[in-house]
């Protein structure tokens, strides 16, 4: 089973008034966790997305696609990064809990659809 563990843009705003030590601790936690998941072979893919302020949204306007500056969703709902892990649900929730335990900011855990029929 594969799960996508998602982090959202609001985390950045939530860290604005934290101390340098707290921010450094968060960076450390994320890097350590990423290294662990890659080391254990549980991580299928992981990426962080550039800040949503750099995003463009392509909309269909007057019968043509038109790119405009900014993300489609609210910045705090905008995807900031993800892990795709090949684990059972319990483990996926455990991974997310480790981050949320530190950041106090929610994460979403979603099952990834299978490309083949379920056995």
């Amino acid at each position: 089973m594969k799960y996508m563990i998602m982090m959202f843009g609001g985390l950045g705003a939530a860290t604005q008034n934290r101390s340098p030590e707290w921010i450094a601790g968060m960076h450390q936690l994320l890097m350590k966790l990423d290294a662990e998941l890659k080391e254990s072979g549980e991580c299928v893919a992981s990426d962080a997305l550039a800040d949503p302020s750099q995003a463009k949204t392509v909309r269909f306007v007057d019968s043509a696609p038109v790119p405009t500056d900014g993300p489609f969703a609210e910045v705090k709902e905008s995807l900031a990064g993800y892990w795709v892990v090949e684990v059972d649900e319990e483990r996926a929730l455990q991974i997310a809990s480790r981050v949320v335990g530190y950041t106090e900011y929610p994460m979403e855990v979603r099952r990834i659809m299978e490309h083949s029929a379920q056995p």
Partner: protein, 441 residues
């Protein structure tokens, strides 16, 4: 290379060193004979994979080059047999090797070619892989595979992309080379200088790819640096009279010398001023300086030589405060004169700030705000933040760091910039009474 060639289990590194040395020679020998870069390159890749599988366990064969050649020739014949119709269509005028001697016989012919194979073959290969018709990512991938002797999997690991992506990039690159009618030969003047410029740029990009993100757990990245230096060293050996090739090699050595100090134990970026200079690689610095000393003045001065000279001045300083900024500024003035560009202006602003004060640097940065190439990049904003901090304007510096952090697409850089920003900010501990309990140990 040791004398022990068989029986013993061989070290992975020894195998890889041999393969990387022989790959372009074997490939060139095949192309000289059959003229099909595309098919020959695939065949050599197959031989490299076979060697990677067999040599570490069974030992390196008595004559490793001949072994590779024999296996590659067999792969070539197999491919032709499997696809002879297509081949006939594509090389209607060429000879039909499927009618010729079996692989063993082919290899015997080729071994004679190998003996006479010289550096020009490797150079011609390098020029071919860095053909201007290819996009930079394709030039990088093809150069690393055909000249560097890396497997597709190794290249994919180094660039952090799936193996299939690199495989497709290489197929497309070879297709373009064929479509462009590029030939396996050394380009003559006047194209030669321009084509060499592309080759140097590709090597520079390989180095940068490894250098800009060679931190933390991503160890493969260091391989790209090593490979860029190895290939540039090879180029410098083949073209000792090309001052810019020497300059590029010196630049790589003098820059890579600081690698161990560029990140801390947690993989975080450490700025040049804060680096522990005792961690710098003195042997690499000495080699870079020696090459630079021999080169400067031997030919026309170019951007790589100048950047190497600037790197050398940083490396020679025993502390950040001891850096010879007036000399660095003078070199940036020359660089601005011969190869102007926004990135050079950006670096020159830093030197200017050290010599004439941060406000002078900031004024020069202001001229870049209207330059579309840099105006909306994190690099301009990050330099501005540093200069504002230097000028004591912490509020503006903090805003600038945060803006730069939002703009960068590099995670380590983003973390570095965020940390610089929060360091300038007085945290309000009263509002975070529970924060200690959430700290990681």
């Amino acid at each position: 290379m040791t004398g022990v060639r068989s029986g013993a289990v061989t070290g992975q590194q020894e195998v890889e060193d041999l393969l990387r040395e022989f790959a372009p020679q074997v490939l060139a020998a095949l192309i000289r004979r059959y003229g099909q870069f595309d098919a020959c390159e695939d065949a050599v890749q197959e031989a490299l994979l076979a060697a990677t599988r067999q040599w570490p366990g069974e030992g390196i064969p008595e004559r490793p080059r001949s072994w590779l050649l024999a296996v590659a020739s067999r792969a070539l014949v197999d491919a032709w047999r499997a696809d002879s119709a297509r081949r006939r269509r594509e090389t209607a005028a060429a000879l039909d090797p499927t009618d010729r001697a079996p692989a063993a016989g082919l290899a015997a012919h080729l071994i004679a070619d190998l003996a006479g194979g010289d550096g020009d073959d490797t150079l011609a290969l390098l020029f071919l892989c860095c053909h201007p018709a290819l996009s930079p990512p394709s030039q990088l991938a093809l150069t690393l595979r055909a000249v560097g002797g890396l497997t597709t999997a190794q290249i994919a690991a180094a660039f952090l992309v799936p193996e299939a992506t690199i495989a497709k990039r290489i197929v497309r690159a070879k297709q373009r080379i064929r479509d462009a009618g590029a030939r396996f030969e050394l380009p003559g003047q006047p194209q030669r200088t321009e084509r060499l410029g592309v080759v140097l740029h590709v090597l520079y990009l390989i180095f940068n790819e490894g250098y800009t993100t060679s931190s933390g757990p991503v160890l493969q990245r260091a391989d790209l640096i090593a490979e860029a230096i190895r290939l540039t060293r090879l180029l410098h050996r083949l073209l000792p009279g090309e001052a810019e090739a020497a300059g590029l090699l010196a630049l790589m050595l003098l820059t890579d010398a600081r690698r161990a100090a560029r990140t801390d134990a947690d993989g975080r970026i450490v700025s040049l001023a804060d680096q522990r200079r005792d961690l710098w690689d003195t042997a690499a610095i000495a080699e870079g300086q020696a090459i630079l000393t021999q080169t400067l003045g031997s030919g026309p001065v170019g951007p790589y030589q100048l950047q190497a000279a600037i790197a050398a001045l940083h490396d020679e300083a025993t502390s950040a405060a001891a850096t010879d900024w007036p000399q660095i500024l003078a070199l940036y003035d020359v660089l601005t004169a011969i190869a102007p560009g926004p990135v050079v202006t950006l670096s020159r602003a830093v030197a200017l700030a050290h010599v004439h004060g941060p406000r002078a640097g900031l004024a020069l940065l202001g001229t870049l705000d209207t330059d579309g190439r840099l105006a909306h990049t994190h690099r301009l904003e990050a330099v501005r933040a540093h200069l504002l901090e230097q000028a004591g304007d912490t509020t503006a510096a903090r805003d600038s760091y945060l803006r730069a952090a939002k703009m960068t697409a590099s995670l380590p850089e983003q973390r570095y910039l965020e940390l610089r920003a929060v360091r300038l900010h007085q945290p309000r501990p009263a509002q975070q009474p529970d924060q200690a309990s959430h700290r990681t140990p």
